[in-house]
Subunit: 331 residues, 2 copies
Amino acid sequence: MSPIVEHSTPVPSAAVLGPFGGGGHALMLGHVHPDADVLGTLLALGLALEGRGWTVTYGGPHPAPALLAFLPGVERYRTLTMLDGPIDVVVLTDCPNPQRTEGLIEQARRVGKLIVNIDHHPDNRRYGDVNWVDTSAAATGEMIYELLTALGAPLTPAVATNLFTAIHTDTGSFRYSNVTPRTFAIAAALVAAGARPEVVSESLYERRAPDALRWLGEALTRVEISEDGRLGWLALPTGLVPERIVESEELVNYPRSVASVRVACLLRERDGEVKVSLRGKGDVDVQKIAAQFGGGGHVNAAGCTVIGPLPEATRVVLAAVRRAVDGSRMS
Amino acid sequence: MSPIVEHSTPVPSAAVLGPFGGGGHALMLGHVHPDADVLGTLLALGLALEGRGWTVTYGGPHPAPALLAFLPGVERYRTLTMLDGPIDVVVLTDCPNPQRTEGLIEQARRVGKLIVNIDHHPDNRRYGDVNWVDTSAAATGEMIYELLTALGAPLTPAVATNLFTAIHTDTGSFRYSNVTPRTFAIAAALVAAGARPEVVSESLYERRAPDALRWLGEALTRVEISEDGRLGWLALPTGLVPERIVESEELVNYPRSVASVRVACLLRERDGEVKVSLRGKGDVDVQKIAAQFGGGGHVNAAGCTVIGPLPEATRVVLAAVRRAVDGSRMS
C-alpha cells in the first residue's frame, strides 16, 4: 500500500483511526533513551487498547529511565533486541527518525503488518505505513488524547496520568511557546479524569538524593557566559559530578535562565563522546545547529552527539552556536 | 451594614457583583511585599473596571518588585502612605489579614465607602464590608477571572496576562495540589484571550544576571539535610550571597526537591531579623508551624519572621519543624 500521510490535523482522520478499530497484537515501540512524551504516549495508547481487548507489548532499544518509574504500566516496558511476530500494528510515537530505534524498525517491518508513526516533530521522516504528524501539537501526548477521544476509549486515571506527564514534560511544565489553549483544555480533561498534577510534579522534580544539591551547586559554579552575554554553557568532564546528577537534572535550563543568553548549551563527556543539549529562546533555531552534527529536535530544544575530547567538542559546538547567534542578530 | 460573606463559592453572587455594577473611583489596595497573585489580580480587575468607565488607583505599602515589571499596567502601582477620599470601592485581593496593609486599611475605612475583600486563603479574617473567600480556588486569579466573566468584562490581552501570571505563580507553574480542572480551563481561556505562557515564564524565570548562577551554586552547596532526611534547610547569613539572589531565586524549592524531605526551610538574615519560608509536602501543615511565630500562609507554603541572630533563629525554627514532622509521622 502507499503510505498514508496526515499532516498537521489535530483530530485524527479515519485513515489514522482505522488500524485501531479492530483488535489483535500491537507493539508500542520506543526509541533510544525514551523520555516521558514517548513512554507516556505509548503506555496511554497501549493501556487503552488493552481495555478494548488488544494484546499489547511495550518496549524499545533502551529501558525506561528510573525517574519515570512512576508512570502507570511502565514496568511492562522492556528492552528489546529481537521482535517476534506476527504483530498486527507497530506504533511509534514522538520518533521523527526510524534510525532512533537502533534497527528495531527493520525487524518491525518484517514481523509487523502495519507501521503507525504518530509525532509532532517538523523533521519527521514519514517512515510509517500510516503517518500522523501534527506539528501544531505541543506534545505527542495531545495527539494521543485526541486519538483516544476519537476512538471513544475511556480515560482511566492510568491513561490520564501518562498523557498528563507527556504533555507536562514536553511543554516544560506549561511554559514553552508551543503551549496553546488546546494544551490547557486537554490538561483540564486529564486532571478531571484522575491525573494529579502535584503527584506528577513531585515524581519528576522532587526525587533528588540528599547529596544532589551539593553536586548541583558544584556544577552551577562552572556555568560560563560569553562576554556579550548571548551564549551560556556548561561543559562537564566525566566524573566531575556523579552521572545521576548529570542525567536527572535539567542542567541546560540553568544557563538558559540568564536573561541575556540566546542559546544555552550543556556538554556532557562520556565514553569518549560528548552529548550536547541545546536550548534557544525563539530567535535562534537550535535544531539547525544540532543538524550540523547529525542531531535534531525542535526550534527551541535540540541535541546531538559529538566525538572527541571535551575541550575540542566544546570549541567546535560553541563556534557553530556563535555563528547561529550572530546570524540571527544580523537578520 | 452588616458584612456580606460569601464562602467558597467559585462563582460570585449578586452581593459580590453589586459593588462593581455602577462606576466611580476604585482603589486597588495591595499588601506588604506584593506578589504576582496580588498584583496580577488588582491590575486585571482595575484595568477591566477602567474599561467600564471607572477611575482606578493602584497601590499599597510597598512597591511592586522589579521581577514583576512586565505585568501590563504595573507602572501605575504606587507606594501609598496617605489615602485621599472619597473612594467608592476599596478592593483587597489575596490579603487574608488587613494588618498586612500597614495601616492603610484603617485609612481606607475612613475615606472609602465600601471595602471588598477577595481571597482564597483559609485563614482570611473577613474584614471587608463584602467578603468573598473561595478556598477551593488555586489562586485569587481564578476568582477574578470568574468575577470578570460574571460582569461580562472583556478579557483583553493585558487583563489575561495579569490573571495568567497570578495563577501561574500561585500554582508553582501548574504543579501544586491546589490545581484543579478549573485552573487549567481558565488558563486555556486566558491563553486564548492573549496571555502568552512563554513570555510570562521567560519574564519570571529567565531574567537572571550573568553571575547569578555562580551565586546560586554557592548557596546550594550550603543546603543541609537532617540525618533522617525529613528536614531540609538553607540558612543564609547577611551578605553571603547578594540580596538580589536571595530574593529572586525560589531557593526554598531546592531543599524541598530532595525526595525524603517533608518540610523545607529557607532562613534569610537581614537587619537583625530572619525571614523564614516553609514548604511542606502535604503530610505536614507548615501554616501551623509559621503561626507559632506569628506568620501564616497555606498548608504547603507559609512564612514568618523571627527576631534574633541566625544560628539561634535556625535552632528555634528547626525545633518547631521537627516537632511537626515527628508528630505527622506518628499520626
